[in-house]
Amino acid sequence: MSRLIAVIWLIIFTLPLRAEIEIQTITTPAGIDVWLVEEHSIPFTALEIRFKGGTAQDPPGKRGVVNLMTGLLEEGAGELDSRGFSEAREALAASMQYRAYGDVISISARFLSENQDEAIDLLRSSIMQPNFAQVDIDRVREQVLSSIRSDSTDPGAIAGQTFDAMAWGDHPYGSSDDGTTESVMALTRDDILAAHKAVFARDRLFVSAVGDITPEALAALLDHLFGELPATGAPLPEPAEYQLTGGVTVVPFDTPQSVALFGHQGIKRDDPDYMTAYILNEVLGGNGQDSRLMTEVREKRGLTYGVGTALLPMDYGELIMGQVRSDNSRMAEAVEVIQNEWARIASEAITEQELSDVKTYLTGAYPLRFDGNAPIARIMVGMQITGLPASYVIERNNQIMAVTMEDIRRVAKRIYHPDDLHFVVVGQPEGLTSTN
């Protein structure tokens, strides 16, 4: 009868010994899995909700519909029109944010303990009973079109859309989440209703909560919130096929500083070599100020304000990608330095000292991410959707420490392919021309 099961994970941070966060993994009576960290010292709760799928579920010819539908969730629901919904949310001093990304729809809520039930009722109506009134569709559509217009002359957005289109072709990954002016203009209320029905379902739901709430109260709240959600939604997207080869593509654009994106195919999140690849990326172009690329391109040569790389393991395709911005007169040099570094890490990997330093950094930085209710809830829901167990918060640093130089050398060869590295450069870069 009672299906609320709480498993407790104690996390002992590696640096100071006394800090603890306790993740409870719970299954509600209605069968919803949720992770909870209780934090009763401040009277509010942060709730992070994810629906796997995202804008990659846009049907052919309907690019932008998931994004537009998501943007309309807060524009009136149940008895409330757009203004009424916002007024109700303000009166509760609650926050509810709705965003559509390539692989996921994200709903972030924050509400006070004193009016928690009213806040959940309002959140529920926005997910379960949005009105999608034509007048609101038309208004929000204009906002999306305005954003598409602005992107059309933004060098960073042009670079992103060019790279994506060349990398992924007709797959939704190959175009903007927003859609195009034409596709968005053509969307109807029926398209939006169909998208709503397709993406919100129990089989793709992930939830985490942190704050002033007990497991029992959270379970009751979630069963009320999602109890009537359909069990299944539309089929999830198909894998995308990477189509780009090595080279340079210049997109002429009259602006003083060129913007470049560069990359090639990457590594899946569930690949056994992922953590080793993550370490390599951190040394090449990760968050620390002293990555190889920051040292070579910025510190030694002053060619840029910032350069960085990231592993992008999306659900239906994966990339290793970086970005750099440099004056038109100096972009060619920046590209050359990056190409050389790419070749160097592929052939020589990294040094033992670099491996040791980056391990210290990554393991030391990890516990610092767990500050604040919403950040902890986001980390947990990210782990859930990636398929990681709650125990990962303990195991993660051990996995990093276990990576050997042998792993590093093997994986560096495996993941970095200098010949496949493709640069998309938007601007008037001197001495750079498209290769094909």
Partner: protein, 446 residues
Amino acid sequence: MFRVFAFVLALALLPTLPRAAEVTTFTLDNEMQVVVLEDHRAPVVVHMVWYKVGGADEPPGKSGIAHFLEHLLFKGTDDLAAGELSATVSRNGGSDNAFTNWDFTAYYQRIAADRLELVMRMEADRMRDLQMTEEDVRTERDVVLEERNQRVDNDPSAQFREQTRAAQFLNHPYGIPIIGWRHEIEQLNRDDAFAFYQRYYAPNNAVLVVGGDVKPDEVRALAETHYGPVLPTPGLSERERPQEPPQLSERRLTYSDPRVAQPIVSRSYLAAERDKGDQTEAARLTILARLLGGNGATSVLGRKLQYETQSAVYVSAYYDGIALDDTTFNLVLVPTPGTELLAAEEALDKAIAEFLAEGVDPDQFERLKFQIKASQIYAEDDVLSLVHRYGEGLTAGLSIEDIETWPDIVLAVTEEEVMETARKVFDKSKAVTGWTMPAAAEGMGQ
């Protein structure tokens, strides 16, 4: 009923605090002010040093020197090699950075709480012992020029904001961009940077704010050890910038650029800032901005312009009262397709005139007050923003008391007071109106 397995252990150990962050303040013998914000929920500390010097304190012709110097602080000292401070923080799992505003320059590290002394020792070292080579200076100047490229020159809206701000301030250096004008950045040199550094980087011109899992007594002991011996700059007086003359004439600017795809109407009005011991006008302006331009569906301008006349895709009002001298109250409007900029501007003016005639909607006012109360609860969850609140306030001339009484002052504002302030601030003779347009489009001045 549900059965929950025992989870009594960890939370029972937590001390019961009346609020998440306790505040302690004291001053060292060399006049360095120290603020400690306790939050023991996570084993993390934020260590920040705020200097009471920024872009508005630069010598004429040296725009950008405050920000350039901020970059150079990451070069070496007598004890630290170039880049060693950041590398040491990283190796210890922390992160560090710095930022410059018109009124302050701030440096911070976020790191495990037991590493506080490590970062404090390095930060104290670079307060007085900076060293840099000509080569460091040349390379870093190129980095700053690329930063300017990225933030301003590649973005027509940012370029135009520089122009409108320069028109807003007739005499005050708030009209000069923090990053500096390009032609002046290009000429900045090592001597400029050192002169600025030696005068302004001193304990009697700095505020230390430490937030997180620390005890005030241990912070005091560490600060006395590391910052205590640092010598103050003698004869540093209160900051006195050139002040604005009476602004008598409305200013209107247009900007056309082929990189603009979405036209915009902007308007800024000269407005009072939060003054030491006198924050009521700023509190009224803070409420006014939230009433006019908060959420599009409920705010005055959103309702009138996005919903009723449908002249705007987006409209917003913005005011930040934390500044040493007079600041601005800002409006921005993105017109709907087919709405000419002139028509959009007229609709904006009409909406403001209607608001002045209609007054405050009591329901909206009540909701806003409740949100402000709630934001104090939410703020307790974010130590970094609390650290900012103190550092920013103290370097903008406010006292600890001003910072702590601010929420109550805002909550005490009445509807009538908001309207009184609104009638005063919306004075076009003190305003700049800007039209951002695609190249060769409609409008004045073509």
